[in-house]
Symmetry: C2
């Protein structure tokens, strides 16, 4: 979702937020998301509205300890990261590559499960927004060069109107305990539970680079 | 890595950055990372020094289009996200659960591979920093309640002194083209390449929630 975006959204996008009359706190969310992501990508903007909706459903403040699951890696994950400190690195964001444009959010829980809300792009509701619908369905009729600004404006105007939610329950995952193991091949240390056939994953099936 | 951290780092951490004399631009990187992550977690701080080092090796400005691979999901991924806009949602961050505390960064490339640098915590160099070593190796001698501040100060003082790097080459992955498919079970749309046995992953093996 990165190709073709401007590398910095600069003041143009903030000016559009003003012109479109986007209210707080979503306005700030959108601006911060675009800055972080390095462009105001359409999926990211929809994602910011989704997180705002999930926060309201939970009755939660974005500064609480919140957990998120994104059902797609495309754009969406940056919204809960920026808005709700539910990040890849702090372990409160999980991305599951299902490919649906949907997000589940829940509070921390001491039980084995947590109640939360799943917010998703509703296939019926999106029909009221033809440009968004064309973009979302990857239609050949969508031209990002001529329709990009209209798409952005339609997303800002639509807000939650293309979203629905459901009440869900998700499993709570515990931190794994671990002991360090030195990989006999590369001599770096890894947690014991990630050792594969006596070696670290990179000296086995997860090798992703060549030395040069 | 989240448990036991303060939910907001507030002014305490910024005051420590000043007291420890951390120079720019790393000082700003560290402060922004802690804010995003919602705590100045040790692995995150080391990660910020790693990204700063990788940027220097690449001769890159953090506002360029940069790609990162993190070899652990713990804390580290938030550093390239915050500092270099190499995020989960914009597709420029990949996390591979190898379990090594290492990061590879590279520029965009039109070739099938890209040259980059892999920065890692060096098992020999870390021995010069006993508190960091105890924390890093998950030693029972490390007590986060009594040694947390000392750990933080040792990390800030050590900076790059516990890091090494190697020259690497990584494969460049292209965007997948796709057509939308409506899942016959849930009626939501997913890209065709993610369909499993005629259904979306969530209506199959990737189900992660129950309705309530």
């Amino acid at each position: 979702m990165d190709e073709g975006h401007h590398h910095h959204h600069g003041g143009d996008f903030d000016a559009r937020l003003t012109a479109c009359g986007v209210a707080e706190p979503v306005r700030t969310y959108l601006s911060q998301c675009a800055q972080f992501h390095s462009s105001p990508a359409p999926g990211l903007l929809i994602g910011a509205f989704m997180v705002d909706y999930a926060l309201e459903l939970l009755g939660a403040n974005p500064d609480e300890k919140l957990f998120s699951v994104c059902e797609t890696p495309k754009c969406l994950p940056d919204a809960p990261q920026v808005i709700a400190h539910s990040t890849t690195g702090n372990g409160r964001l999980k991305v599951i590559p299902i490919g649906r444009f949907a997000l589940t959010m829940n509070r921390a829980s001491t039980d084995k499960t947590a109640d939360g809300f799943r917010v998703y792009v509703d296939q019926e509701k999106i029909k009221a927004f033809p440009i968004i619908d064309k973009w979302f369905s990857n239609s050949p009729e969508f031209n990002k060069h001529t329709m990009g600004t209209n798409l952005q404006e339609q997303i800002l105007a639509a807000g939650r109107k293309l979203l629905s939610y459901e009440n869900v329950r998700v499993p709570v995952t515990l931190k794994e305990t671990w002991q360090p193991v030195t990989c006999p091949s590369c001599k770096e240390t890894v947690p014991d539970y990630l050792v594969i056939d006596g070696k670290c994953g990179a000296c086995g099936p997860m090798k992703y680079y060549e030395k040069r």
